[in-house]
């Protein structure tokens, strides 16, 4: 990527101004910029905005947009509230040298199809906060995007959940063929699937089948798993066909649900 001008603002207001008024392009993790052939007139580097944090509040957890995958993966706080789902979901991605660069905000903003993290965040009922203080459901942002330029400040998670992540890859360092995350939120089940190869979506019908029981029956689980592949669209790419994705999603959803239910 060619970047004509570069700015590293020190405040959110300044960053917002550069993005809104000067048509700046936000730079999050900066990974894979080199594979991009676009020319950017003004690159706005978000690394000095103090957005690298994972903080616990009384009824929720906040993750700053510039928090890296490596921090998610090694966070004791996240592990104590959500089990192994973060380390399982992002720990497969290439290597720690890359995971020490790529950020939560960059991943959410990109709404990438292949993302392991977006699927996980959707399942955990995450909300995304655009500066200044515009809060939206993350799953619906992934689905619909945002009208106009935006600056992601943080991600908000509920205080805890029992969750699991499952994926299929041809080899360990490859992108997923399909992935799913499921979570028992205390009052309801959430099920998301991504890398279809399009971006993550909630499996709302499957969620309905599971309803509000912390201990769904095997039959309910199987029905929800089957439903997940019926309610979503799948595509083909070099890694797999739509048919294959559709075929194995229920297997992964079932395994994830069983992992959470025990």
């Amino acid at each position: 990527m060619e970047i004509r001008e570069y700015a590293r603002p020190k405040s959110m207001d300044e960053a917002m101004h550069l993005i809104h008024e000067e048509h700046g392009t936000a730079i999050g993790g900066s990974a894979w910029l080199r594979t991009n052939t676009k020319t950017v007139m003004l690159g706005v580097d978000l690394s000095d905005l103090g957005l690298e944090y994972i903080r616990e509040f009384q009824d929720h957890i906040e993750i700053g947009a510039m928090t890296t995958y490596r921090e998610l993966e090694t966070s004791l706080l996240l592990a104590s509230r959500f089990g192994k789902i973060f380390s399982t979901a992002v720990g497969h991605i290439v290597g720690i040298q890359l995971r020490s660069i790529i950020t939560v905000g960059g991943t959410v903003a990109g709404r990438y199809g292949f993302s392991d993290l977006n699927t996980t965040l959707c399942a955990l009922g995450a909300r995304v906060v655009f500066y200044p203080n515009i809060e939206e459901d993350l799953a619906s942002f992934i689905e619909k995007g945002y009208a106009g330029p935006f600056l992601i400040e943080k991600i908000i998670l509920p205080s805890s959940a029992r969750a699991a992540y499952q994926q299929m890859r041809i080899s360990e360092n490859d992108f997923p063929i399909i992935n799913t995350a499921v979570a028992w939120m205390g009052t309801e089940w959430r099920v998301a699937a991504g890398s279809r190869p399009a971006a993550a979506r909630l499996c709302r019908n499957a969620m309905k089948i599971l309803a509000d029981s912390a201990n769904p029956s095997n039959e309910q689980i199987e029905a929800a798993a089957q439903e997940s592949s019926k309610e979503l669209q799948f595509g083909s790419d070099i890694r797999a066909s739509a048919t294959y994705r559709q075929k194995i999603l229920p297997v992964l959803v079932r395994r994830a649900l069983l992992e959470v239910r025990g």
């Binding site: 001008e5 590293r8 993790g29 910029l33 690159g43 720990g91 290439v94 660069i101």
Partner: protein, 151 residues
């Protein structure tokens, strides 16, 4: 534009463009131990430490490194020599193109993980690809190295 970095303990003022990645800027400045293997953040050959954390210099904007401490394998040469003894004792250095980035990650792992299992070692180093060795010889070397330096 110019950036000031502190590389292997030495202050360097380097010229770069805003879109330049750190790998090219370092290599141009003579730090050719930072290798360029893939262009897609996949192989780990370009690994350097930024503020003591291993990162891919191919995916890190040079301008973002302004003011930061950077370590290449040459910056930890004594430790690297020690590890090299174990790696070469297994013949696992092979072509050596990935070796500087790989060795740097091994040294980081040594600091970060206490008595890692083999699965943990493999996981920590999964971002360092090697096409020569099949990884087994590297694992043998790492296990013996960790045993020796922890004693």
């Amino acid at each position: 534009m110019t950036i000031t970095i502190y590389i292997n303990g030495k202050r360097e003022i380097l010229e770069c463009q805003p879109g330049d990645m750190l790998t090219e800027v370092l290599r141009k400045a003579g730090y050719v131990e930072v290798k360029k293997g893939c262009d897609t953040a996949s192989c780990g050959a370009c690994t350097v430490l930024i503020e003591d954390k291993p990162v891919l210099s191919c995916s890190y904007l040079a301008v973002r490194a302004d003011g930061k401490r950077i370590t290449t394998i040459q910056g930890v040469a004594e430790e690297a020599k020690k590890f090299a003894q174990f790696l070469t004792a297994e013949g696992a250095d092979q072509c050596g193109f990935c070796a500087p980035g790989f060795a740097l990650t091994v040294l980081s792992m040594k600091k970060e993980l206490r008595n890692p299992s083999e699965a943990e070692i493999r996981h920590y180093l999964s971002g360092n690809l090697c096409r020569c060795s099949g990884y087994e010889g590297q694992i043998r070397a790492i296990k013996k190295y960790l045993e020796a330096v922890h004693d």
